[in-house]
Subunit: 404 residues, 2 copies
């Protein structure tokens, strides 16, 4: 079919670099795949899922197989409310919930509901590729703020806000993954979280808090509370997902926000997919209600903790000089930064020849400007694969540096 | 949260009239609900689903609970290809398939991929409300073409095409539900199907063929082939769904189109929900592979056939003079047209007082201009409810006419 049939909108969209990489390298023999954002299948609570599903089909098939409300299955919303209040200390009295088809849909609903063409968003540098893609659809402009081991550098946020205000530009929202960041693995400090909220109030913008990795904590340190916890002005849209704590194959995520905002999300969602699978929502709901989520997450943590350690140890052991990396205490990723001048996109073909694949850092920058970093995943490969993969990566990096 | 945070886009969207009605009247005691578009839960193949799921969790949990490709689970695509070729006689050699999160998502992907603001679409009058909503998001303009018992009036399509061409306006696509139309229940004749394709070629537009109800045939008449079957120029985007033949709670639909078009849908879908539930796709895939779909659809037809008959008989028996209705041979709906001057939106509160609810006809018109029609559903209510509901509706209509 000729190009002229397609909308200008779609012709401007680029395929997701990560999804294209996954297509290209996934499952190839002899390649250690560090590109993934996948949970390890051993973390899927298969027996629990079986129990929940057989009960559902025995007792509630007429409901769980039927169409459902756009906002979500009412019992899941109830379970989420009580879970979020109890476990995250978020007061939900003036808030409401919408269930989303994975957290990917949450980003799309946020974009469609909030962004007018040309409006400015603040995001971390690096940030989640799919968030860039989701918001770019709606012609957002981005201001990227660097991160350090304490998360987004809030003083730079304030600088930018001042500069923008003096140019007469308002910020629509700030998007952050404060806990076990994707791709960087780092966690924003409590002070910075509170400071961001103060800035949001002072400069009148919203905060989208993507907390997909909160439960994946592998240290004994207490994870800082969600920014949403201190949100007295209803400025924070809080996003969570079952993909990392149950299974991504169900595509169930959720958002907490003020009722008027949720109502707008609902109107957009009616036009996106009517509602999320009732069946999958039922599983998620019972998974909370029967107490399995809280139990099972402990097992997931036990399972990932040594994998992270293997990756950090292997990096320490094998990587050549000139490379640094983050030291995450949770999540799924380590972020490696090479010497200035290194181009990890260019290096990828050499890496694949050496039997390892990663996601080049530029995928996580709005303008693709940072070329010397890469994201390594430790949740999906096995421990030996991680060690071997990092070894191959280190060899690749050494070769690449000598070549230059 | 203040309105000023919301995008212009979302502030222009109206909540779906049907979804709002469903929220308002569904499950209310003493109201016969003829508003629904739901399958009856007795048609859900619960035991088959159990078998498929337990097998999946025993043998393939690592795959079915994991992230999957945006285009869809490869085995489902394979099964769909062979099913569509064999059963619908559609040649798929130059075509490709994408799995969607229900057919609702198909409409959204079509809108995002094809419509530039202000472009003209041709649709039936009446047409599926959610299609109007989906395409309106992308600022389409609509030309509505009346239908009769043979479907969309193709000579009027041609008239409009000539008029538009003389004004220098091109049509982007024509959207039709040719088989057991929603809301009207009628089926487009074979001649008209072929003629539409000729027009598409002559006037250079695409056809979106929404064939959600094709399998729900209750007469011995052979259903006319899909328009897609004669599509030699790759002009038809063909949409199907498992919602009516398996269960809507899984949210699995699909589209067939040329590979370049499917590729564009994929890029948009990456930004919508990454992919449709792998788990639900697996169930759909095995449902075809094990031959259950073809078997079970026969049972569904047996189940709905008498319901349709009860509705048509009750209309014949109870409705006052001045009312006509379609005589569908399949699908889920009968379309009732009242005398000129009747306002079914206005009449609805009286109907509810009398214990029956329907969807007012204006919901199915782009401009809401036709006020004297209504859509009645016979798939969801039981046979006695249908008879009683139509009786109450007839009483309501009589009262309303006298009052005027």
């Amino acid at each position: 079919m000729s190009k002229r049939y397609f909308s200008k909108r779609v012709l401007e969209m680029r395929p997701s670099m990560i999804r294209e990489l996954v297509k290209k390298y996934y499952g190839k023999a002899d390649i250690v795949d560090l590109t993934s954002g996948k949970p390890h299948p051993s973390t899927f609570p298969v027996e629990i899922i079986k129990e929940l599903i057989n009960d559902a089909l025995d007792k509630a098939s007429a409901a769980v197989l039927q169409y459902g409300p756009t906002l979500g299955y009412s019992e899941l919303i109830k379970q989420l409310k009580s879970f979020i209040e109890k476990r995250y200390g978020i007061n939900l009295s003036n808030q409401d919930i919408i269930v989303t088809t994975g957290s990917a849909q949450a980003l799309d609903l946020i974009g469609a509901t909030l962004i007018n063409p040309g409006e400015v968003l603040i995001v971390e540098a690096p940030t989640y590729t799919n968030a860039i893609d989701a918001f770019t659809q709606y012609n957002a402009k981005f201001v990227q703020i660097p991160i350090d081991e304490q998360g987004m550098m809030v003083e730079k946020v304030e600088e930018e806000l001042r500069r923008l205000r003096s140019d007469g530009v308002n910020v629509k929202f700030l998007y952050t993954i404060p806990t076990f960041h994707n791709p960087a693995g780092i966690t924003m400090s409590e002070d910075r979280r509170k400071y961001l909220l103060e800035l949001a109030s002072k400069y009148d913008f919203l905060i989208v808090e993507d907390d997909a990795y909160r439960e994946l904590s592998y240290s004994d340190e207490v994870v800082p509370p969600a920014i949403k916890r201190w949100d007295s002005e209803g400025r924070v849209i809080y996003c969570g997902t079952f993909s990392k704590v149950l299974a991504p194959g169900f595509r169930v995520g959720w958002m907490v926000a003020e009722p008027e905002t949720i109502r707008m999300f609902e109107i957009v969602k009616q036009r996106r997919d009517l509602h999320t699978s009732t069946f999958c929502q039922f599983i998620a709901s019972e998974y909370i209600r029967r107490g399995y989520l809280e139990q099972h997450v402990l097992k997931i943590r036990q399972f990932y903790r040594p994998k992270l350690k293997v990756m950090l140890n292997a990096l320490e052991e094998y990587m050549p000089e000139g490379f640094t990396w983050t030291k995450p205490e949770g999540g799924m990723f380590v972020w490696v930064i090479g010497p200035t001048g290194l181009n990890t996109t260019y290096m990828l073909s050499r890496a694949v020849e050496n039997g390892v694949a990663y996601v080049p850092g530029e995928a996580f920058y709005v303008d693709g400007s940072v070329k010397n970093a890469m994201r390594l995943n430790f949740s999906f490969p096995d421990e030996e694969e991680i060690a071997e993969g990092v070894k191959r990566l280190a060899k690749t990096c050494s070769e690449e540096i000598i070549q230059r």
